[in-house]
Symmetry: C2
Subunit: 189 residues, 2 copies
DNA sequence: GTCTATAGTACGATAGAC
DNA sequence: GTCTATCGTACTATAGAC
């Protein structure tokens, strides 16, 4: 349960963020959120219109945080290859999966344009960032002239998102790391 | 609703397969399964011990089908590169996601070793198949000598699984295709 | 083997006291 | 703002008739 120094609405959002990550939207009940936040039914319906509204606030915050973390490594120091490597190797709680990407497997998220939008925008922004870096690397002769920035960016993002799937299937982060190493070996050659 | 020429237990398994694909384990209720199968509560609890038992039968069948489809293209004709390309480009209902991989985002599947096992085994077998093909290609000089079969196989599988994530996030199969083209361009160079 | 009835709990939301 | 009480429905499972 969250500290009472946090406002009730903050505690609700943080509890929802955790539960969405752990159990997804369909698997997260208002009751579970309220228990974790240490709040009653009334508080939730005072601050939010309902479960979808609270989830939207939680998803937006998680999406912003993820984008900021990705931007931090991608716009950091180093050559284009090094920045992509830094993104691929950045610290991750692999077995927990991606707090944003996992939402795409939730039927109620996909059914709602409003809930899906932050997910789409976040992945799209990261892809654009990576695409720009690849194009930069091409000009420096670091990547072959025939590779396409947008496509490689999609591959990089997909390798990460799919790496989570392989890791969770096997119950070990090893498969995630293997996928990343494989991609880096291809980017190097 | 399924044809009555199928046995009740068959209809239950097929309905469960569909619903697991569409809504995941947590999002699939026995009631929804029974409605789709055109059966009553008693039938389900006669043929299966409960929701987890029925889901296990459904997951096993879906996993077998997926493995067979993957084996078909991977052991088909063509050079190692061509077989991997055939796997990556094989017909997929991209926006529906992977019926096996999507289960890794389900908390109740991950919490149960029994339900997770068919998922793990299926992805593992496909990875082994691809790894062997890559090693074969290395001997033929089709892939660089410094690439590792297991790693590239993880990258290939992750690109597919992550491609579904990107496609569902954007509501379009385009991102999946872009990721695949990016990976193929890297494998070629 | 299949059905309906029913159980007990949880779902998501509202009402109204404080 | 926050609480408890309550609503009507759905959840997973069991019982027992046919």
């Amino acid at each position: 349960m969250y500290s009472r120094r946090m406002s009730t609405s903050e505690r609700l959002i943080e509890s929802t963020r955790e539960l969405l990550w752990e159990r997804g939207y369909v698997g997260t009940s208002p009751k579970a959120i309220l228990e974790r936040a240490g709040a009653g039914q009334g508080s939730m319906y005072h601050h939010f219109k309902g479960k979808p509204d609270l989830a939207l606030a939680a998803i937006r915050r998680t999406a912003e945080e993820l984008l900021a973390a990705a931007e931090a490594v991608l716009t950091g120091p180093g050559t284009p290859y090094e920045r992509i490597e830094a993104y691929l190797r950045r610290e991750r709680d692999v077995l927990r999966g991606c707090p944003v990407g996992r939402l795409t497997m939730d039927p109620d998220i996909i059914a709602s344009d409003e809930l899906r939008a932050p997910v789409d925008e976040t992945l799209d922004r990261i892809q654009e960032l990576i695409a720009g870096i690849v194009e930069e690397g091409k000009e420096l002769g670091q990547f072959g002239p025939r590779v396409d920035g947008e496509e490689i960016a999609a591959t990089v993002l997909a390798t990460v998102q799919g790496g989570y799937v392989l890791a969770r299937a096997s119950g070990s982060p090893a498969a995630f790391d293997a996928g990343v190493r494989g991609l880096l070996s291809l980017l190097r050659s």
